[in-house]
Symmetry: C2
Subunit: 229 residues, 2 copies
DNA sequence: TCAAAAGTGTTAACCATACACCCATGC
DNA sequence: GCATGGGTGTATGGTTAACACTTTTGA
């Protein structure tokens, strides 16, 4: 028992609310806990922050360890610090939310997780601790942010069709969008460019692929441009 | 040295970024530290979180103790957790930002502060730790939020003139607004009501006083209404 | 009578919305 | 040839932006 302090210290953890998008569903990454408390229950990936490690490094490490996910859009979400969140001791959890290109990542359980899986956000299992609340805040944030920052592209593969992009927005915002107006608006921003590539082997007219012009967006943003759906 | 843990624990603090508005200036509340490190330097009000105390309770307690400010709009801002923020030990700080009606609060130094004062945000002194960075994030948030939530009213007295309200927006957003368009927009929302009261003893035509209809706003918000500048 | 801020409407440009049909492909 | 999603333009109404003079008051 070597770590002693003059005043009581809470434990600090990080939790990741990791979203992916898959054809028609917004999905959330969960792990099944290998240890107590809540052993065997589904929970957000996360864990204790190392004493000399930044918060963001801690989340990235946990996601790498527990799920093999690397390379993602990551942003701090909120800090949950109610005194009775964890039965063991006072635990303050800094939650991050992350967006990953689902099709480009295979997840697999590693050290702390019995199992790792993507769940449609509409059909989540019961979650450990107050993780349900954390997911709720994450969803709210995603929904708010997708409207005024081009983060939707983080959920899609490099090449995508306008149909896929529109379905993504409709799913996240939970409302249908007019196809012609959507295309007019997106194309009008000149933030995505058409490729000379089309879908293959689809049972209907093949859609053209597009790519997000990240550099152009960064440039425009510096000049005061604001993305808005 | 009674508090011992199996793994090292960081200390957790809260810091308050407290804004006020005064005639023509956006102001920030600072304290001069009574203790090391950074004794005598200006810093954000804040301190360690009690082991059985929620984060928000901790900020409120600190603001009461150090400055006598009670009753304020308070919201979590961001959590700063870089390993070397504090020379003593690993300290993770959960920052909150707060808006107060400057004219209705007299601040005074109490337990931990040698001195307490309001500084115009444009002319801040050097700050302890990474508090400059925290203030920057707070300002950014205020600027973003004031556009789509009616938080400006938290900075004004109960009764205010449209001129005061406009100056507040111009100050926070750092851009001039057209008087006629501003009034049209604000009055069109029907969120503020005119009182039968006018300025006294002003060297120009006396302005009418208005009041924010908070209840009506809450009602409209539940029905899906969105405030926007 | 001057200075200082309050108060007040109209017009033109732009943007958001609503809406329907033909196209290409695989089965 | 049919089912499926891709792709395209216009007209209307509403919203935003630009703009200048009169009023009231105290010094």
């Amino acid at each position: 028992m070597p770590f002693t302090y003059q005043y009581p210290h809470p434990a600090v953890t990080v939790d990741g609310v990791v979203f992916g998008f898959d054809e028609a569903d917004l999905k959330l990454l969960l792990i099944r806990r290998r240890i107590e408390p809540h052993m065997g229950d589904w929970a957000l990936p996360g864990g204790f922050v190392g004493i000399a490690e930044s918060l963001e490094d801690a989340v990235r490490r946990k996601l790498r360890d527990e799920t093999d996910i690397d390379h993602l859009y990551l942003e701090q979400l909120y800090t949950f610090g109610e005194p009775k969140r964890d039965p063991r001791e006072r635990v303050i959890s800094v939650a991050y939310y992350a967006l990953v290109k689902l099709s480009e990542h295979k997840v697999r359980a590693t050290t702390d997780a019995l199992e790792v899986a993507w769940f449609p956000v509409a059909k989540l299992p019961e979650l450990a601790f107050d993780h349900e609340r954390i997911v709720e805040v994450g969803l709210q944030r995603l929904k708010a942010k997708v409207r005024y920052e081009p983060i939707g592209f983080e959920l899609l593969p490099e090449k995508f069709t306008l149909g896929e992009l529109q379905r993504l927005y409709e799913t996240v915002l939970e409302q249908p969008l007019d196809k012609r107006n959507f295309r007019k608006k997106i194309l009008g921003m000149e933030l995505i460019e058409a490729l000379d590539e089309y879908q293959q082997d689809v049972a209907h007219r093949a859609a053209q692929y597009y790519r997000f012009k990240r550099q152009r967006y960064e440039l425009l943003r510096k000049r005061g441009f604001n993305f808005e759906l």
